[in-house]
């Protein structure tokens, strides 16, 4: 009798530990790359067949484009961005002292574009700015995402996390509903990913366009039948901050290929 009881208790412990272990496993960040088919992975890895490289090339043109004062991005950042601290590029969004808010890579580029090149700033998330962002992030390819949210960014991170877990629209879903609970399961023919941001801006096989992260948020909101926030709005920037920090330790894959 005691033997049976010991076995039952041990089995219960084992099940509990296994459950705990599987929960920790589920929280390990996993790039969208791992949910792609072999042929799509091949397409992403080969720069000649990756259609996202078109945006990188277009962005490179902007990088050498003369501003109103005759300067180019390359004057400060070097030919092919050689003066960039590539590791720092993987830290975005970073805290900006002057504006007291998180600064996304796009905002930083736009800030330089206006302040140092004397240009009229881009509209947030317009095609040209996304191309330039794609190019700059491409330069930091293979760097590990490393967003520090312990300091002044903490409250913005918490807001982003709250948004991530908030249900929206007539369909009444949150980002977490799919990407935290059901990653790996199939939604019709499509495998749900963890919704990591390390590949963005990414080339989308569905639309045939390079889409920024805020563009992707807009698509998700529309499919929830919810009114999306504006691109570049504080809400989406907080969400971007949360997502990037959530994907810390993943490698940047821009321009990735996603469904």
């Amino acid at each position: 009798m005691t033997l049976v009881r010991t076995i039952v208790i041990r089995a219960m412990w084992a099940t509990g530990l296994l459950l705990l272990f599987s929960i920790t496993l589920a929280q390990e960040p996993k790039s969208g790359y791992e949910y792609l088919t072999a042929s799509t992975r091949e397409m992403q890895d080969d720069e000649f067949s990756n259609p996202g490289m078109k945006a990188v090339e277009d962005g490179r043109k902007w990088f050498y484009d003369k501003g109103v004062n005759g300067k180019t991005c390359a004057d400060c950042h070097g030919k092919e961005g050689s003066q960039f601290n590539k590791r720092a590029l993987a830290n975005y969004p970073i805290y900006n002292q002057e504006f007291n808010k998180p600064f996304t890579l796009q905002e930083q580029i736009n800030y330089c574009w206006e302040e140092h090149l004397d240009n009229v700033p881009f509209v947030y998330d317009c095609v040209d700015l996304v191309e330039l962002e794609t190019y700059v992030r491409y330069l930091a390819r293979d760097e590990k995402v490393n967003v520090d949210v312990t300091g002044k960014l903490k409250p913005f991170y918490e807001k982003g996390k709250h948004l991530y877990n908030t249900r929206f629209g007539q369909i009444n879903m949150s980002c977490a509903s799919c990407h935290d609970q059901y990653a790996g399961k199939k939604l019709r023919g499509q495998v749900l990913s963890q919704g990591q941001s390390n590949g963005y801006p990414a080339y989308r096989l569905g639309s045939g366009k390079v889409t920024s992260l805020h563009g992707r948020f807009t698509e998700c909101f529309t499919s929830f039948r919810a009114e999306p926030f504006d691109r570049g709005s504080p809400e989406f920037i907080n969400l971007e901050l949360y997502l990037n920090a959530r994907g810390n330790s993943l490698t940047i894959e821009t321009p990735a290929i996603r469904y």
């Binding site: 007539q170 009444n172 059901y182 009114e227």
Partner: protein, 162 residues
Amino acid sequence: MFNFPISQCLRKPRFIFLLGCLVFSLPLAAEKYYQWEPRDFAIEKPLGGLKGNLVRGRKLVAQRDKGNCLACHAMPIKEEAFHGTVGPPLHDIGSRLTAGQLRFRIVNQAGINPLTVMPVFYRNPINVNRISDEYIGKTILTAQEVEDVVTYLMTLKQEVSR
């Protein structure tokens, strides 16, 4: 009693604005919403006393902009490829649940599991967060469509090996 004579009200721009809002919001409320009351996790009475139709229900569960049940659930509908795996398969749902229980799950699955990913197909439209303009005042399925789907699901009594 009348502190605000009509003639005085009409001179107030705020009043005119509110009146305008009321008039223009009338067509939005055209779709009738029937209140429902669950008991023991079931809604025994059909919504609005409507009668469901099997053929329409079978069509609705596959329709992507309507029920779209196939997105998450596998069902015995062979002509449609790629059934989802998010939710449980529904091949024998008609023998596992009663019509009332099914109705409550379609109308408000979140009332059973607050963490569910399943949309609330028939909730009071005023309780939606940031709904897009196109869908203001509308439920995902109409009361008639809910009944059609319930009627179809009740016919699924296939034996499945688990």
